[in-house]
């Protein structure tokens, strides 16, 4: 990798990914071993195509677009939990993905075990978790339920503890999908303050939201996705203006 003055932390180049329209259709063995070409199959569509952008360390990026235009897919590509069918996605730093954050939690284990498990799976060592454990529990406000099986928590509590864990990962890149829609207003505000804290600490943020207010609050740069293509890459205010002009409700 060429050393520029500030190397980008995320490099997306001509990335494209396609999904099957009909999830039930079966594939043949031939398909599996035929390699990844630019074959267009009738039952598939490109969720994203020819998307290219670089992200510098410390940037706060908001992803804008209507439902089903590839926002979450883009986030998953950056989180490297799916791979592009063409082009490349390079992520050069650790990522704390606030995507499906409760996914790693096991119903039958206690809150305590779950904290160690999830943080551990995201690369934290036991000593590091020990050091942050009290902080995580204090943030999530569920200190009384430490030894309760996770399944007995309310859905709000589940999201709270999950957010508390993932947001304590000392990773330079944070991805936020619309997870914060859950939880009461006070806790949401707390989460937002935590994100601002992380941003102030020099983190790179990748934020997907439908809330114009939140986007303006956190982000400086906007990516506008429409029909699987990146149609605009500009300061967030300009991106939101165009989005409102095309799809927004007239004020």
């Amino acid at each position: 990798m060429a050393e520029t003055l500030v190397a980008p932390v995320i490099q997306v180049k001509d990335a494209g990914i396609r999904f099957k329209r009909n999830r039930r259709s079966r594939r043949s063995f031939k398909d599996l071993f035929a390699g990844r070409g630019r074959r267009a199959r009738p039952d598939e569509f490109w969720a994203l195509r020819d998307v290219s952008f670089d992200v510098q360390p410390g940037e706060a990026i908001g992803v804008v677009g209507r439902n089903g235009q590839g926002k979450s897919t883009l986030l998953k590509l950056v989180a490297e939990v799916v791979y592009p069918d063409e082009g490349s996605v390079g992520v050069h730093e650790g990522v704390a993905p606030l995507i499906e954050i409760t996914g790693g939690f096991v119903d039958d284990l206690t809150v305590r075990d779950n904290v160690y498990l999830t943080a551990g799976l995201h690369g934290m060592k036991k000593a590091e978790i020990d050091a942050r454990f009290d902080e995580i529990i204090e943030f999530s406000e569920i200190g009384d339920f430490l030894d309760t099986p996770y399944k007995h928590l309310s859905s709000g509590m589940k999201v709270r503890i999950a957010f508390a864990v993932i947001s304590r990962l000392e990773e330079p890149i944070i991805l936020v999908d619309e997870v914060l829609a859950v939880g009461d207003k006070a806790f949401r505000e707390k989460c937002y303050r935590r994100i601002e804290e992380l941003l102030a600490g020099g983190r790179t943020l990748f934020f997907v939201s439908h809330s114009e207010k939140d986007l303006r609050r956190f982000c400086t740069r906007g990516l506008y996705l429409d029909k699987g293509a990146l149609v605009m890459d500009a300061p967030i205010a300009e991106v939101l203006d165009r989005y409102n002009a095309e799809y927004g409700v007239k004020k």
């Binding site: 990914i17 999904f19 999830r23 079966r26 594939r27 599996l32 071993f33 990844r36 998953k76 989180a79 490297e80 939990v81 799916v82 791979y83 069918d85 730093e93 650790g94 990522v95 993905p97 995507i99 499906e100 954050i101 409760t102 996914g103 790693g104 096991v106 039958d108 284990l109 075990d113 498990l117 551990g120 799976l121 995201h122 690369g123 934290m124 060592k125 590091e128 902080e135 000392e170 990773e171 330079p172 600490g201 020099g202 983190r203």
Partner: protein
């Protein structure tokens, strides 16, 4: 609070081990905290099976030659490893579907999702070994005392071969089941067939040609013959072991290729 923004440098191998161990202990913890009998369940299944076969073959069919005494030891030395293999492969059919949420949110190397099954079932196998010791001690008071031979030193070799074989099969099975859901049931059926095609209730040395050659082609045969040779040295046949080793290497290689080719599609499907 530390505000350092730096990635924790960890070698890929050590972070692989770290994640693998976390998920394996999670599996075992879940299994042992959610059921009252806990550990006992890991040994109960092979124990009941062993009791059934022991009754059928020694009491009903009145079978048993000098070589295969005590028959319960003969059974268990292959049945316990079989329980490991069977458990790992049948769990591998659900390796991706059962953990879909977690797989969608972490980017740890995907082979871990198969490896953890082989490892956790392997640990259950190891902690079930005292059952064999228990019966061996009991047999000391009978007319056919079990005798341990130097071949017991070969058991680690059998464990390594079996782990590699189960891992290879798992790497093939796990992604393909995502595309072909029917495969899950086909695998169950195949495993039941494989049980009788492996020297578990019978011994390799008691078979006649051409059945003997056919069974020897089963990669489990050589592996089981090593376990068995600890008490029944006549069962050990290096040719069978070599056949197993070759098959294991081939299956493992095919497993890695299939897994690598299919994983990007698997991640989109789950």
């Amino acid at each position: 609070m530390s505000a350092s923004v730096q990635s924790r440098a960890q070698s890929p191998a050590s972070s692989y081990r770290h994640s693998l161990w976390l998920l394996t202990t999670r599996d075992l913890k879940v299994r042992y905290t959610t059921s009252f009998l806990g550990y006992f369940w890991s040994i109960l299944d092979p124990l009941v099976m062993a009791a059934i076969y022991w009754i059928v073959f020694t009491q009903i069919f009145n079978r048993g030659t000098a070589v295969e005494q005590p028959y319960i030891i003969f059974l268990l030395t292959a049945l316990l490893p079989w329980t490991w293999f069977n458990g790992a492969v049948s769990d591998a059919t659900r390796a991706f579907t059962k953990e879909a949420k977690l797989i969608r949110s972490t980017k740890i190397p995907r082979t871990i999702w198969v490896a953890r099954l082989v490892l956790s079932k392997g640990i259950e196998f190891l902690i079930s070994i005292p059952v064999i010791i228990f019966f061996a001690l009991i047999s000391l008071g009978t007319n056919d005392p079990a005798q341990l031979h130097w071949q017991v030193a070969l058991v680690p070799l059998a464990i390594v071969m079996q782990a590699a074989l189960a891992f290879g099969v798992g790497l093939i099975v796990a992604p393909l089941v995502v595309f072909f859901r029917d495969l899950e049931r086909a695998i169950k059926l195949g495993l039941r067939f494989l049980f009788y095609a492996s020297p578990i209730v019978y011994g390799l040395e008691g078979l006649h040609s051409p059945l003997r050659e056919l069974v020897a082609l089963n990669p489990l045969s050589g592996i089981f013959s090593i376990y068995r040779s600890a008490f029944f040295p006549a069962e050990l046949n290096w040719f069978d072991v070599a056949v197993s080793a070759v098959f294991t290497v081939v299956i493992l290689a095919v497993g890695f290729i299939v897994f690598r080719r299919t994983v990007p599609t698997v991640l989109k499907e789950i």
